[in-house]
Subunit: 378 residues, 2 copies
Amino acid sequence: MSYIGKHISSLATPAFIVDKEKVEKNCRRMLDLAKSNGIHLRGQTKTHKTVEGGIAQTGGTKRKVVTSTLVECEMYADQGFDDILYGFPFIQSHLERVFALTERLEEFHLMVANQEACQMLEQSAPPEGKLWSVFLKVDCGNARAGVWWEDDEAVDIVKFIQGCQNLTFQGIYAHCGNSYGAHSISEVERVRDSSVEMMVSLARKLKEAGLECPHWGVGSTPSCSHASNRFENLTEIHPGNYVFYDNQQVGLGSCGLDDVAGKVLTRVLGHYPKRKQMLVDCGFTAITKQGIGSQAHPKMIAPVDDHQDLMLSNMTQEIGFVEPIAPEGSIDFSLHPVGSLLKLIPYHSCASAACHPTYYVHDSQGIIQELWTPCRGW
Amino acid sequence: MSYIGKHISSLATPAFIVDKEKVEKNCRRMLDLAKSNGIHLRGQTKTHKTVEGGIAQTGGTKRKVVTSTLVECEMYADQGFDDILYGFPFIQSHLERVFALTERLEEFHLMVANQEACQMLEQSAPPEGKLWSVFLKVDCGNARAGVWWEDDEAVDIVKFIQGCQNLTFQGIYAHCGNSYGAHSISEVERVRDSSVEMMVSLARKLKEAGLECPHWGVGSTPSCSHASNRFENLTEIHPGNYVFYDNQQVGLGSCGLDDVAGKVLTRVLGHYPKRKQMLVDCGFTAITKQGIGSQAHPKMIAPVDDHQDLMLSNMTQEIGFVEPIAPEGSIDFSLHPVGSLLKLIPYHSCASAACHPTYYVHDSQGIIQELWTPCRGW
């Protein structure tokens, strides 16, 4: 059955629905932020993993993206994208696929997070006429992958890379994911400013050591959702979640509820007035359990769009429980007959979108215009 | 690249690996439990959602399964299965697909959880020569979907169904999911026994009211993983998770760690000795965040197979953090070089399996024998 041209209310549920105008607005705003600072945007594609989302993130150029998986790299390469960074720590088992991508693209970059990875690459011949092009992953306080920005190790690895025959150095890359731990916009801005400062400082240190450093950047949607002239001091930014945004970003002040572009459409299955609950056809396989204990209400998994007194508060595999946010609140069941629709606002759109084999992309009237097929697997 | 005949160590990671002998043993044990009690097993397919898993659950008969989604019903119907129960509350939007399944199968059953659903069905003509065959979902204390076993509503709905022209009544169905809240095997057994008692009592009440009740059963893997002569009082059981089991079931005493058949294979990406961590290529898209706060260690998401001093304690989208379980513990990094493999034991295999487009099914030596392709979506 083709849903194109039909209203979202005709969809089988649960379904991941995407407001195209909001995606375009979110993507345009991020491109403008980069442009106004005279730097590049290298959008992270992990939230949507679609060709169409990548086109929106690059403003149609299909140049400069960063991905979270090899299948994303391969999908984008197949669709004419170039200047693709596989933003995941390189290990030996990636070699065969990474070779093929290096061979077929003008610019394909790898991420290295330690010297072992550089040594492995140096010991493997790149495709004829090419070098392994690498970014060094730097930790600016988020304690994930990468070298601590202040450690001598960072300079040592870059020196090692620049002494290699088979490697070429692109620059340093940080994901300031610690911005997600902030409790206010000013705290997000402090994380952003300190991350920018650390990367600028490391880039300077490399230059002072006689080492080239073409690019240095930070990324994370909270950090990149507020204008700042600090970005001028970088060469690129690489946020990703902003394409859809979500309720976590609303809580962090990155966007308003009205900017959230991806939601889960669900139907009411039954009324349970004794328990003050409605059951809906959205279980953890359609939105994930992420969100519990991380939002204003301790039981909230997802707020209900247009009914902000209601929340998704629990789930089994295929069924969700909707109840009033306020303990003394109630549900007006007459507004929500069995079979009627609700929209849930994901806490973490990267996780919720990953549950869905198709995104139903609609206009502002709810008419489905496109189906987007994300890549899955690794 | 074909992985058949190769060792699991050749797989791209993360990968969901399934021990075929363990699946067969788990499925055989459940079939034997039903047989020894003279009742039917109607295995729930939601954990694996594969044809091969359905064959193992039915002992090759391809008869009597219960599913969680319509796509599962359609996949099993395509592959010659019959006597399929769509174990999800019927709503009007399912009608078209449910009509097709009723038409093509000898026996296709629906679940109803309220009188509205029965009314909707009664108002829709079933396929020529068929009736809408329904089970009534009953709540025996797990507070999910269905009618409370003691309420007059249960009898009223069955009376309504038996007065309908287009419906035929199959029986009553309960998922004793409250067994998951138990803290000991004896507590699981109490939940099982009380659920059995409630269903037997409702079946008796229906008969006393002059209403037929061909089938009455309970299901849930914890309840059905211990032998009991109480099952003789039922006509069927319908657990599902036992096909793979998982660390939640180990904690509930349903199985031993050695019975867990589905695991996530992952590789070490880097060593972070200052943080006493290794990073691995298993993020929340490969195992989900379910498990935090629900296991012996408050930070544990998944124990590491064969290294039971280590656990997966946090994740980003594509990266996992492995650390010692004991705060004073340490990691012997020499045992885990960059690129080496670990196996993670999912807390909830239904959720973790749902992340994977393929399951790599291996023998006891780790040689891949089959690829299973689960159905996805709804």
